[in-house]
Amino acid sequence: MGLLDKWKNIKETEVEPGIDHTMYLTLKEERRISRENSRIIKQFEREKNRKNVPEEEYLTQMRDPNNVVEFDNLHTYFFTDVGTVKSVNGVTFDIPQGKVVGVVGESGCGKSVTSLSLMQLVQAPQGQIVAGSIRYQSRDGKCYEITKMPKDRMLKVRGKEIAMIFQEPMTSLNPVFKIGEQMDEVVLLHEEGATPKAARERSLEMLNLVGIADPQKVYNNYPHELSGGMRQRVMIAMALSCTPRLIIADEPTTALDVTIQAQILELLRDVKNKINGSIMLITHDLGVIAEMADYVVVMYAGRIIEKGTVREIFHNPKHPYTIGLMRSKPSGKTKDNRLYSIKGQVPNPINMPNHCYFYNRCDRAIGICAEEYPEMIQFTDTHSAACHLCRNGGFMDTNSTKEQR
């Protein structure tokens, strides 16, 4: 391969001289990265694998008792072979009790990693929570610092108090066990003193709750016997079986058809009210967010660029990226012949510059955008955006905001 690369580079010079050949890392750079990574990872893993951590170390105080989860300046990095990927790079937001918080962003913006950090499921050893805190208000009234929580203690929270629904209902159920067995297992694992009979009753009740017409039959089915929509219902039933305080739904409808998506969204809304829990809804589909969420967090390249209530975000978006995202969604009502599009491509969060990450793609960029990363600017109690253009209290002309719908 090395020879081939050389040959390729020689050819390249023939085509177009003067183009940088810096696509590939040199061996030296690569070695340095590997060395650094292993040093850093070792340090974090040592910290994590300590035994008998006293509880005081991971008890903390919520900023606002109405919140279930507070992310505070969370940094989750992946130490990969090509460099440090700052997947989550200073994320701060709250999930209030009984509300739906939607996290939107394109692939690689760190929205899934944020939720995995909350579950302590970031793929170790490459992925590490480097800094910041995640505070979780447990049902027992205590408030935990998830980033410092030992693994065995986390087992009691994960799945029981915080449940997760994944994108692929196909792969998130084990194909060799019956639906019922898998559901009972969750209950038996988390409910102290649960008998198999009680677990079975609980599972059937949950299947009923998610609108499965014939719970008995589905209980005895294998995953492959169910359709995608049914599987997602089972996943939701499973997530609900321990009446969690928070459900993390990671792209729950992306793999489903539109008509099934409508069913599942309806169900999620319904279920949330029944158990009075919160939902952290991760998706790239603005339509789903508009329909489901109370609060919206827009992420770009590992950072939050705008957050606010759903009305603030959809009726009065401030950040050029949010605006662009909304305008680039086609619809029959688009007047112009050409669709608005954000130029360039989603950045890969390695070696991010220290200026605004959106600078290269932004068509309103001004001088300062290339110099420093913008602070979050508050517009209302809930609405804020990270953009230099918003410095003077939201300069955005009303035209552009009207245009976007």
Binding site: M1, D5, D20, T22, V82, G83, Q345, N351, P353
Partner: protein
């Protein structure tokens, strides 16, 4: 850290000036070849395997040159090392009382062969007075050469037939795969034994040529595995969208097979070939051990072990480990080395196989 950011910034800026529409990416990646190498070298076992194979290669191909330069020994040179050895002879006779008596006679004689390790002959000499170290080196040459040639031929036949079966499917596939089945269900070793014995009994075939026939048989036995792998790969690759795309652009079948399909089976081929090398060496040693491989005066690891054949007496097995242990160790080292490398390559090519 700061340097890195600066560099990144520079690339972003320069690419921005150059590329107005901003499609340029601003980060560096590792080329796939280097990625494979990196994953390969990350595993301690593969490095161990690599050391083993490098050692065996140096030993077999460079070793004889060194030996030649220092002592001037050759493969078939007979050394008569004189030494006094104890000799015990026994005889039975029937006494007048009708009982059988055994008569022991212990005497000392002058022997020329089976010299113990010494400064001139590090591993001593064998029953014919050949220097064992030198012969180990030449034996390695033969083993390695045979295994590489066999694997190379096997791979070529396997790729062609497996490729045809996988690409054309239908009756071509049926025919080729049934042939594969037939070959695969032949018990390899017995058939090889029979064939080798047959060949050695044909007088018109000179003993030195037997080895070529043996290679041909090994190839015949081994190509089926490669064909299966290639066919499976091609069946899988055929469903890839780029093959559909190649179909829609209307390029010719030959192009499709040799530019799109075969290059994509390379990783699997390299892995199976590496793993196969060990197997061939084992086969070759087995045949040599049984006296059906490389004919006597030439050295082969298998036939060197055969000196210790217990059916010809326990003497060598018990008293002269220097004659057969080194050959055994070399076989183990070579086979293990190839397997370690093969496993390492497999993990490196396809990281999903691990974890």
């Amino acid at each position: 850290m700061i340097e890195k950011e600066k560099a990144a910034q520079q690339t972003t800026n320069s690419s921005n000036q150059e590329v107005k529409d901003g499609y340029e990416q601003h980060f560096k990646v590792i080329s796939p070849g280097r990625m494979v190498a990196k994953r390969f070298f990350r595993s301690k076992l593969s490095i161990a395997g690599l050391y083993m194979i490098v050692f065996v290669f140096l030993f077999s191909f460079v070793g004889p040159l060194i030996v030649d330069a220092t002592w001037g020994y050759e493969e078939l040179e007979v050394f008569k090392v004189e030494r006094i050895a104890d000799m015990v002879s026994t005889a039975d006779f029937k006494g007048p009382d009708g009982k059988t008596y055994t008569y022991y006679d212990k005497s000392q004689t002058l022997v020329y062969f089976k010299a113990p390790p010494s400064a001139e002959h590090w591993l001593g000499t064998d029953t014919s007075g050949f220097d064992i170290l030198t012969r180990l080196m030449y034996g390695g040459r033969i083993s390695l050469t045979i295994s590489f040639i066999v694997i190379f031929l096997e791979t070529i036949i396997g790729v062609i037939l497996g490729g045809l079966a996988g690409y054309f499917g239908k009756w071509v596939d049926q025919l080729i795969m049934r042939i594969v089945d037939i070959f695969a269900c032949l018990p390899g070793l017995p058939v090889l034994l029979v064939l080798s014995a047959t060949i050695s009994s044909i007088e018109s075939i000179p003993a030195e040529h037997r080895i070529y026939y043996m290679m041909a048989f090994l190839t015949l036995m081994g190509w089926t595995g490669v064909a299966r792998i290639v066919r499976g790969q091609i069946l899988m690759l055929r469903e890839q969208e780029y093959m559909l795309a190649a179909e829609t652009t209307g390029i010719s079948p030959m192009h499709k097979i040799f530019r799109h399909l075969v290059p994509n089976t390379m990783p699997q081929l390299i892995v199976s070939a590496t793993l196969g090398l060990g197997g061939v060496i084992l086969y070759e040693s087995t045949l040599s051990y049984l006296g059906l491989g490389v004919p006597f005066p030439r050295a082969a690891w298998g036939s060197m072990i055969a000196l210790a054949d217990p059916s010809k007496g326990q003497e060598i097995l018990a008293n002269y480990p220097n004659m057969w242990v080194p050959a055994g160790v070399l076989i183990v080292v070579t086979v293990l080395g190839f397997s370690f490398i093969g496993d390492g390559l497999r993990d490196a090519f396809d990281p999903r196989m691990k974890r």
